[in-house]
């Protein structure tokens, strides 16, 4: 009997939501790390009971927790994130250069092949890797060499929030940074280059600059890792060539501002976004919470509303707060800043709230269990 496990990070703790393959009845377990901000949790693809969690607080800093039993129990592992060498400076809000300073881990990405290897995307933006199950973390400093002195924080901080590992090429890694853009390594993280050609951002002095774009999220389907989808600060974008160039596919969306983007488990041309009204008004257009699905890889979008609130809804859905399981039909899940986690067991056709009153949801990841 198949099952799914949702790993939900919130402003005040982590929650583990489990269900059988019907995805109708859910068990809610938590809060774990009550009172702490849990930016992200993610399980190892090769050992699903190995889960890493980013635990942080404005008072007491960063911890990394690790579970060996699917999130029932946890142990703290290494929390020392020290930039390699002299980290130098990046752009600051006032136009001056500002020293790199570690603040928190936004995203954890376990290796596709080794449960002891995981990557951490941090603020101020950098990529770290552990090879010993989280006991120690080492920076991959070549990333900051990709014009890091020109990167600048967005209002949410200068964070590395997306890490994509190419399942067909162990040397290839994609990351995305706000507000710097998307970057690719073809040598396992040693060297990097910006992959932002085709992006246009009116919020920076040169709208087509090589770096400086506020990329909110990128996604791929494992069967076609050269095709990337991007939700940018404004615009939904698509690349056919692993990010060498991008084309806009916002099409008929009611707003092309938003945070998450994800791909159907079995249909590489079916993608999902959650339009948000604007960068000034972080809630759904018209107070209607709608997921939009394109079955054509963009441009033509349909609103998915069945079971979602269609009036007076003013929540946001953050960049790491949507995910898709690999059952047939695939399940789609997202969490809101209002503390709801919604799920669809039919690829988005119908939705139900799994839980309504959690703290503000920062991230949702799903594990499809045999």
């Amino acid at each position: 009997m198949s099952a799914v496990r949702l790993l939900v990070g919130t402003r005040k703790g982590a929650f583990v939501l489990t269900s059988d393959g019907k995805r109708d009845q859910w068990k809610i377990d938590g809060p774990h790390f009550a009172g702490w901000e849990i930016y992200h949790l993610k399980g190892s693809p090769v050992d699903p009971n190995r889960i890493y969690a980013s635990q942080s607080s404005g008072w007491f800093g960063q911890l990394i927790q690790r579970s060996q039993d699917g999130g029932k129990t946890w142990e703290p592992v290494g929390n020392e994130f020290v930039y390699d060498g002299t980290p130098g400076t990046h752009q600051w809000y006032d136009g001056t250069q500002h020293p790199w300073e570690f603040k928190r881990v936004w995203h954890l990405e376990p290796s596709l092949t080794d449960p002891d290897i995981a990557y951490a995307g941090v603020e101020d933006a950098a990529l770290f890797r552990t090879k010993d199950g989280g006991k120690s973390w080492q920076e991959l400093p070549g990333l900051r060499g990709a014009k890091g002195n020109l990167w600048q924080p967005g209002a949410g901080g200068m964070c590395l929030h997306t890490i994509l590992l190419d399942p067909s090429n162990s040397e290839r890694i994609f990351v995305a940074i706000s507000a710097a853009g998307a970057f690719r390594s073809d040598d396992a993280g040693q060297t990097w280059r910006p992959i932002n050609q085709g992006l246009r951002s009116e919020q920076i002095p040169d709208p087509e600059a090589e770096v400086g774009h506020c990329v909110h999220r990128i996604a791929m389907h494992s069967s076609r890792p050269g095709v990337l989808f991007m939700q940018k600060h404004w615009d939904v974008m698509r690349s056919e060539n692993a990010g060498d160039s991008w084309n806009e596919v916002s099409g008929n969306l009611p707003s092309d501002f938003g945070f998450p983007i994800d791909v159907h488990a079995h249909e590489p041309e079916t993608i999902y976004v959650v339009p948000i009204k604007s960068d000034s008004e972080h809630f759904p257009p018209d107070g209607k919470l709608r997921v939009y699905r394109s079955r054509s890889g963009g441009n033509e979008w349909e609103a998915l509303t069945n079971g979602l609130p269609q009036s007076d809804c003013y929540v946001n859905v953050l960049r790491d707060a949507m995910c898709i399981d690999s059952l047939d039909k695939c399940g789609v899940y997202f969490g809101t800043t209002g503390g709801q986690v919604y799920g669809s067991a039919d690829a988005g056709d119908t939705w139900k709230p799994i839980v309504r009153d959690l703290p503000a949801v920062l991230s949702v990841e799903v594990q499809t269990l045999a």
Partner: protein, 98 residues
């Protein structure tokens, strides 16, 4: 015997209840207390002060004998009442308004 009072979240991390008691040889200072505390509870490394610079985290405060000692140099000897265990060395999170 030095007595250290930790805030709720750090007691949970260290899995302790009530105050922590530490034996310290040599001068009793913020630095020597934190060294001893982190040696006994490694999970607290990085939560009170930076791993590398040992600079106090911005929203952590150190109180003792009804004084705010947060801004004192970390090698300054603490009051005798702390060194003798008559008063506890208090680590706490700064108040959050709102």
């Amino acid at each position: 015997m030095i007595r250290v009072a930790l805030p709720f979240h750090l007691r949970k991390l260290a899995k302790v209840e009530g105050e922590v008691e530490l034996d310290i040889t040599g001068p009793v200072t913020q630095c020597s207390i934190l060294n001893a505390l982190e040696a006994r509870y490694p999970v607290l490394r990085g939560t009170i002060r930076d791993h590398v610079t040992f600079k106090r985290r911005a929203f952590v405060r150190f109180f003792a004998c009804e004084q705010d000692l947060s801004h004192d140099p970390p090698d300054t000897p603490l009051p005798d009442a702390v060194a003798t265990g008559a008063e506890s060395f208090v680590v706490l999170g700064a108040m959050a308004g709102g």
